[in-house]
């Protein structure tokens, strides 16, 4: 069924060498490839979405230099190292990967890979940025749960230029549920002109044993605010906890031993040792008879 594959350590060594020492060479004909997609807001935005799902986990947020501490370090998209690449080189590297950098040739379409290049180019000093991220604004977020209607009601405000808080309209609010190790996104909703939004919790959301959910409500990026955590909201289905360790299973402890097995074992062992005891008693009788005959 399975075959063994050898030379693991050679492989590691190979990766390490490639990763650490040499420069990443791109074939000449690839370097000069032209980007077939246009450098515009729509493509850069799409590129950004792709970046967030595929690249951010290692390269970090643009401009924050918060990539993973790997060897070699994954450079920030705004860095000189990244921007020194030609578009063709970026495309080649995204497509083929090397060492710790995955190959996206099979998972991201060619157009989308070019869109990623567009997104990276948005941070090139030589380019006019089309996607301008405004400095994050201070915001206030209020949220409450309507347990009877299983809804989350949100109200958001944003700090205006004069320091006063104004209603925040048309902002994306994401709703998630706290799970054992992280928040599970369950939906997004836009605030209306009054800065309000309502989100109906999906019926199949699972809570704890009582159906209680810790709902986390947060504003999209561009706003500085702490997420609102609505503790123990009774909006979910009670979590089913099927009993795992059942009675009469072979793999559990003696408490759950199968009756037939216990009875067979005790019966066989008890029977054998009773018979042995009986035989020992016969030996005793032999001795007694001998004594009586003296």
């Amino acid at each position: 069924m399975i075959k063994k594959i050898n030379l693991i350590f050679v492989a590691i060594l190979f990766i390490a060498q490639q990763g650490m020492g040499q420069e990443w060479l791109v074939p000449e004909d690839q370097k000069t490839l032209k980007n077939p997609t246009e450098y515009n807001l729509s493509n850069v935005k799409k590129g950004k979405d792709l970046y967030l799902t595929n690249c951010k986990s290692c390269h970090g947020d643009a401009g924050k230099n918060n990539g993973l501490p790997l060897v070699p370090p994954p450079p920030d998209v705004t860095s000189d190292i990244m921007q020194a690449n030609t578009e063709g080189e970026l495309f080649y590297k995204i497509t083929n990967g090397r060492g710790g950098m995955p190959q996206f040739g099979s998972t991201i379409s060619e157009d989308d890979r070019w869109r990623l290049v567009n997104y990276i180019r948005n941070y090139n000093p030589a380019n006019e940025p089309v996607l301008v991220e405004a400095p994050p604004q201070k915001a206030k977020l209020l949220a409450s749960v309507n347990e009877t209607e299983k809804k989350v009601e949100v109200f958001a405000e944003v700090e205006g230029n004069d320091g006063k808080f104004l209603v925040l309209a048309n902002a994306s609010v994401s709703i998630s549920a706290k799970k054992a190790f992280g928040n599970l996104p369950i939906g997004e909703v836009l605030t209306n002109a009054e800065g309000r939004a309502e989100y109906a919790i999906p019926k199949d959301l699972i809570g704890d044993e009582q159906g209680l959910v810790n709902v986390v409500v947060s504003l999209g990026e561009g706003f500085v605010t702490d997420p609102v955590i609505l503790d123990a909201a009774k909006v979910g289905q009670p979590k089913q906890v099927p009993k795992l360790i059942k009675k009469e299973v072979l793999w559990s402890t003696n408490e759950n031993v199968q009756t037939w097995l216990l009875l067979s074992y005790l019966g066989a062992v008890g029977g054998a040792w009773l018979a042995i005891a009986y035989v020992v008693f016969q030996i005793f009788k032999i001795w007694r008879v001998g004594k009586q005959q003296e």
């Binding site: 399975i2 054998a272 030996i283």
Partner: protein, 452 residues
């Protein structure tokens, strides 16, 4: 049973029988001393090996995470196998009223006691934490085949000892009453003590027969269990080569082969050393030869089933295992064991000449060695080929080869088993005197009359 004889004749004959059969007890020469020295020295070396193993860990063996059972377990299975002969010779044949086996039954019991006792010790020597042996009794899990095995080994040992002891009582009384001055004093004391004030009354004989009958019946299921449960240690896993339903009967059949061969060897040794040609007669060897052929044929039948059926299908994992046995790393051992331990012995023993004492004993030595090798290739090849590839471990994890410590400890088990057999032969007659005398037509009254 022969015709009854006159009292005078009977007394004379009984004296001769007693004299012949106490020779093993009385005889003590240079060879005896050397034999004891030899056994004890090698056993001590083995114990030293065990000490090193306890001190440094089981890593002193060739076993590692993949081949985690090695020579010890193979050896354990071998000893369990050998012990099963007690069940066949002293119980099954007795109950079937097959008389020729009577004089051999004590030899069979000696072998059984030694083998099963050592099996128990070997399994402790295989443990990573022998200091926690009591956990098996404190925390024993009823669903674990190991618990069944521990139970059945202790039960079988107890029954074997009783089955050795009970027919011995009249003999002990006979030696107590008629023993010559050649027998050391302390042995006489032991006989007096163990004879339990035997008078030879009809009532006492009745009790002996009754107890023996119960033990013979009891040992049937227990004897079958001990080897079947041992096979389940393997068959209860999902591993290719072990994951088969016939492993139980396959082990039982193989056990008869190993045990019968061992008994033939011990019989021959007694016959030569203690000059017992008239007791372990050519006829007995002939019958034992026939018995050995019969169990070998049964074993061959199981072997065909065990290998032909999976080899016909060659399921992936089974195929790897079988290829390994037939043409791979273990093929030399496999084919040698099958040829010299099974096929050639069967062919030879079908001829009358090869059932004579010496040829049969030589064949038995081959059969016994082959059955040890057989256990080895039942245990190890399967573990060398788990379902998932063996990777990222040093090379010596991939193939098992026993270390000198393992050889030492295995040697200890053989020496200790031989030591037990020797001590039993030196302490007690190797044939049940009263039964034998009775068969020769001597009345019970004469057997139990006190020395004049």
């Amino acid at each position: 049973m022969e015709k009854s004889k006159s009292p005078e004749e009977s007394r004379k004959l009984l004296d001769k029988i007693t004299f012949d059969l106490t020779r093993s007890i009385v005889k003590r020469d240079e060879l005896t001393n050397f034999w004891y020295f030899f056994l004890i020295m090698f056993a001590a070396v083995g114990l030293w090996g065990w000490f090193i193993q306890i001190r440094d860990g089981l890593g002193v063996t060739g076993m590692r995470d993949y081949v985690s059972w090695g020579m010890y377990i193979a050896n354990f299975v071998f000893f369990v196998a050998v012990s099963l002969i007690g069940f066949l010779l002293s119980s099954a044949l007795h109950l079937l009223k097959i008389n020729w086996a009577k004089p051999i039954s004590r030899v069979a019991e000696q072998v059984a006691i030694a083998a099963v006792a050592l099996a128990g010790i070997i399994i402790v020597m295989d443990m990573g934490r022998p200091d926690r042996l009591l956990n098996v009794f404190i925390h024993g899990r009823f669903a674990s085949p190991i618990l069944w095995d521990v139970t059945v080994v202790t039960t079988y040992l107890t029954i074997s000892i009783l089955l050795f002891y009970i027919p011995l009582i009249p003999d002990l009384a006979l030696l107590r009453d008629k023993g010559t001055d050649d027998i050391p004093k302390w042995k006489m004391k032991v006989y007096t003590l163990l004879a339990l004030g035997w008078k030879g009354s009809a009532e006492q004989y009745k009790l002996v027969y009754h107890a023996m009958r119960i033990l013979m019946l009891l040992i049937l299921p227990v004897g079958l269990s001990i080897h079947t449960v041992t096979s389940w240690l393997f068959a209860a896993t999902l591993r290719s080569g072990w994951d088969t339903t016939i492993l139980g009967p396959y082990f039982v059949a193989g056990a008869f082969v190993a045990g019968a061969a061992a008994v033939v060897i011990v019989m021959y040794a007694y016959r030569q050393r203690y000059n017992l040609k008239d007791y372990f007669e050519d006829l007995h060897f002939d019958y034992m030869g026939k018995l050995l052929v019969f169990v070998c044929l049964v074993y061959l039948y199981f072997n065909i089933n065990e290998f032909l059926v999976p080899a016909y299908k060659m399921k992936t994992a089974e195929g790897i295992h079988l290829r390994n046995l037939f043409t791979g790393n273990f093929s030399v051992m496999f084919w040698l064991a099958q040829t010299f331990g099974l096929i050639l012995p069967i062919l030879l023993m079908l001829c009358k000449y090869f059932r004579k004492p010496l040829p049969l004993t030589i064949i038995s030595v081959f059969v016994l060695i082959a059955s040890w090798v057989k256990r080895y290739i039942i245990v190890i090849p399967t573990l060398e080929h788990p379902f998932l590839p063996v990777q990222n471990v040093p090379d010596h994890f991939k193939h098992y080869s026993p270390t000198s410590i393992e050889v030492m400890i295995t040697l200890f088990s053989f020496m200790a088993a031989l030591l037990i057999i020797t001590v039993l032969a030196k302490m007690f007659p190797v044939i049940t005197i009263w039964e034998y005398a009775e068969d020769k037509g001597i009345e019970k009254e004469i057997i139990s009359e006190p020395k004049n």
